[in-house]
């Protein structure tokens, strides 16, 4: 147990002292700041660009819900893409560089090696999301004057479940595929398949495919039906993927 904590400390410092500390936070901060601004000024930008062309078209007055929707939409596409690409080498990176050899000949189990990575990065994602959501909340309050917390935080929580689902899958893919790019390709392919499959109602109701739609509905301030099952299924699949990754990694040769 103690060695797992020491390894977790290393993982944390690795995040803080390498490129990992910049990339995802920068992406999230950009979305957090620009989301409310884009939502607020899109009608004005459109009329400035198009002039009288759309004079008959009346855009609804933007609300805080639009700002939240923009934030969740960005997270749900580019945010997930970035996550998949960044975590393509979450396990294979250490195998390829050779550092896993030095660590795993010490009293650290291979299961702990994989699980600690997944847990530390889940916590990191949670912290980043909390910070980004706070920024969005603050900017929305500044721009719109009114920023209800419930829709924003509930939709962010649903997105976090989706992020944990993909992090779990990437942990498994990173054990299965030695190359980070290969694992990321697999992850992106699966993202497309799940997104397309979610058009079919049963998939949206019972799988991670339905999470993005529900997060957007929640962000708009509308109560979303059947959030529980996609959330539970996603968390269960994420846990199963990490468990499978640990079991496979235990049997692999380094």
């Amino acid at each position: 147990m103690r060695s797992a904590l020491v390894f977790a400390r290393k993982e944390t410092f690795e995040i803080l002292r390498t490129w990992r500390v910049f990339v995802l936070p920068a992406i999230l901060l950009l979305f957090a700041v620009t989301g409310p601004l884009i939502a607020k000024y899109t009608p004005e930008l459109l009329s400035a660009v198009a002039g009288d062309q759309f004079s008959s078209l009346r855009l609804p007055t933007p609300t805080a819900g639009d700002a939240y929707g923009q934030w969740i939409k960005n997270l749900g596409q580019i945010g997930i893409f970035a996550l998949i690409i960044i975590y393509g080498g979450i396990v294979s990176g250490e195998r390829r560089s050779g550092t896993a050899v030095l660590v795993l000949t010490k009293p650290v189990s291979r299961v702990a090696f994989v699980v600690v990575k997944a847990v530390v990065n889940t916590l990191y994602l949670t912290l980043l999301l909390a910070a980004g959501t706070l920024v969005t909340w603050g900017v929305t309050a500044l721009v719109f004057g009114d920023a209800p917390g419930g829709p924003l935080w509930s939709s962010a929580l649903v997105w976090l479940v989706l992020a944990v689902f993909y992090l779990g899958l990437m942990t498994l893919f990173s054990v299965l595929v030695p190359s980070a790019a290969g694992a990321a390709g697999l992850g992106l392919g699966l993202f497309v398949v799940i997104s397309v499959a979610a058009v079919w109602r049963p998939v949206a109701d019972w799988s991670p495919g339905g999470l993005l739609g529900r997060a957007s509905t929640l962000a708009a301030g509308t109560a979303s039906d059947q959030v529980l099952w996609p959330v539970l299924v996603s968390l269960a699949v994420a846990a199963a993927a990490v468990a499978a990754a640990a079991a496979l990694f235990r049997r692999q040769e380094l």
């Binding site: 060695s3 690795e14 050779g98 550092t99 030095l102 000949t105 010490k106 189990s109 380094l254």
Partner: protein, 310 residues
Amino acid sequence: MSTALETVALTKTFGGRHALDAVDLSVDEGSVFGFLGPNGAGKTTALRIITGLAKPTSGTVRVLGQDIASAGNAVRGQLGFLPDVPAFYDWMTAPEFMEFVGGLFGLDRRILRQRTAMLLDTAGLGGVTTRIGGYSRGMKQRLGIAQALINAPRLLLLDEPTSALDPIGRKDVLDMLDALRGRATIFFSSHILSDVERVCDTVGILNRGRVLTQSSMQDLRSRHGGHRIVLEVTETADADALATLIAERSWATTVSRDGQGVIDVLVSDAAAAQHELPSLVASRNAGLIRLEAGELTLEDVFVELVGEAI
């Protein structure tokens, strides 16, 4: 004396090719064991299996009395390991890496600090506060040896520990290993025969996945001819004919010569050879410039064994 490391019929196959072929090794506790072999002999594969990084196709490995297949943290806690090309977290400094590794072994913070300072000083890295990413290969190798010793291991496994070092670095590492004699069992693979000869008391020679021999250095030398004599005759002499004449003697095991009148003879009976050689030289009307007798080196034995195997 108990056995620190034992392999029985250890076999590893890659795509039908035997990287290790029924390897039997036995390393006594407290010994310094040199695991010799040319490049590609299977040394690194054997070490990967011994450390649990790879699994054997068949056969067993017992490390400190436990089967490595079922050994857990208790056994790994008593091992020190240096891979052939050690890799580190480039963003760490050497003291940070040592404290990380010591933490994995559960070492007390005070002991860890003392050992870190002492080992880094010994490795010539005391006071180096830059990140490991900027280290030379030699510095990384020395850090690799230091981290392998952080837990004061009962069994120290080193894969080519001196291969990336300059002569002074090599000497320091060999001195360090010499100083550990009796306090830990050291098993190190190498193709640098002089290093093995300097510090090891037991050797195993591996070639093409097979153990050609395993014995103490002394036994090895006495079993394989025991002595060599180097003979130099004047250039005007017919050295080829003289070499042929020497090769016919019963005490001559191997005779070889270069183009400069130097004849190298491995002999089974040094006294008889020393007695007869001057007269043989005289019989060919050759002038004797030099006659040197000495112990057979590990290199001689290695070349003889590996050469035979090839």
